[in-house]
Assembly symmetry: C2
Amino acid sequence: MTATRIKEVALKQFANNGYEGASLADIATEVGIKKQSIYTHFKGKDELFLDLFNAVLAKELNFVFEYLDRHKQLSIDQLLYGFLIQYKDGYEHDDNTKFFLRVAFFPPSHLYEEIVKQGYNYLDTLETMLIPVFDQAIAAGNIHSDVSSEMATVSFLAVLDGMFVELLFGGAEKSLKRIEASWFVYWRGIKS
Amino acid sequence: MTATRIKEVALKQFANNGYEGASLADIATEVGIKKQSIYTHFKGKDELFLDLFNAVLAKELNFVFEYLDRHKQLSIDQLLYGFLIQYKDGYEHDDNTKFFLRVAFFPPSHLYEEIVKQGYNYLDTLETMLIPVFDQAIAAGNIHSDVSSEMATVSFLAVLDGMFVELLFGGAEKSLKRIEASWFVYWRGIKS
DNA sequence: TCCATCCTTCCGAACGTTCGTCAGGAACAT
DNA sequence: ATGTTCCTGACGAACGTTCGGAAGGATGGA
């Protein structure tokens, strides 16, 4: 199916070059067709892009959900640190994650509002999923009593964003140093 | 001087709309001239933009230098926390800071390399300035012995980036919650 | 089996818009 | 007279997009 091929190629090109950096002509060339043919399968560039964006967002949220579910038996520090590392690896090897970060941080201006809204929806959902995890850790006595689950969550999301930034600008390798430092200080900051 | 007016308006428009969001036509309109007249004062859009970028970068570094110098008598936690707050306020009220963040995070693709290079130059300089501050705090026994000055610096820069992200997407008001949480956990993570 | 028809997919050509950019000339001050 | 500043007008490149038609396979009736 050509539509599927177009989606694959577009995902990759959007992930690596951003919305405006990926022209329909370039996408079509890599698929092996002319740019006009894309209009047989999609109404236009925006529809193609938003189709991908929604699919990617769903996959990202699903990844988080699955990760937390599959590793719920881990200690909280292993769970959270592993989460950071998983995301770093995803950025290296998974076009979904790369697309997600690239688009969330470099959104096309005419879709800015929609994308930022979805981005915060992602963060809110993540927060909703993390708070019970911290509540559980607090109940188990693993978190210092000065630290509320909300504060732990919010600052963890900040650590996550700090990692995202370094991933985007410095790449996966360079980001490892920051992850290690951030995580060390963060964990020392919330552990009991 | 028209050139100065152009720079002022361009700084503001680049800060609020980014490189591609600010057209020469819009800039000229706000100045009260036609877009072609800009070419009397600048070779083109890129020259205007890079002129501003370099000036802004110098001002930002100067701000950091001055801040650290003027408040060197403060305790390290007050110094660093105040630094975050200062930056937040700067983003709200200072077009320089807004331009800096906007451009650093949403760089025009054909100048990407140059901008990211300068961005890392900024971070490196910041790191160079902060390490002695932490060294001093360590010598004074204010930082936990498990935490090296480098680790404290790197993770502080991550906190800073986390704040930048929230500033850019959520605005100054929303970012305060994140700043508080991040700082609380960060300081608890490095203090002795 | 054959042929007419229809639908899908793709492409050549062209259009419309947005931008940055350039050439040439008018107004004005020095 | 000279230089500066700004304007009118136009150009060219890059995109996304639309239109009309060709190629090919599938369908259904004779």
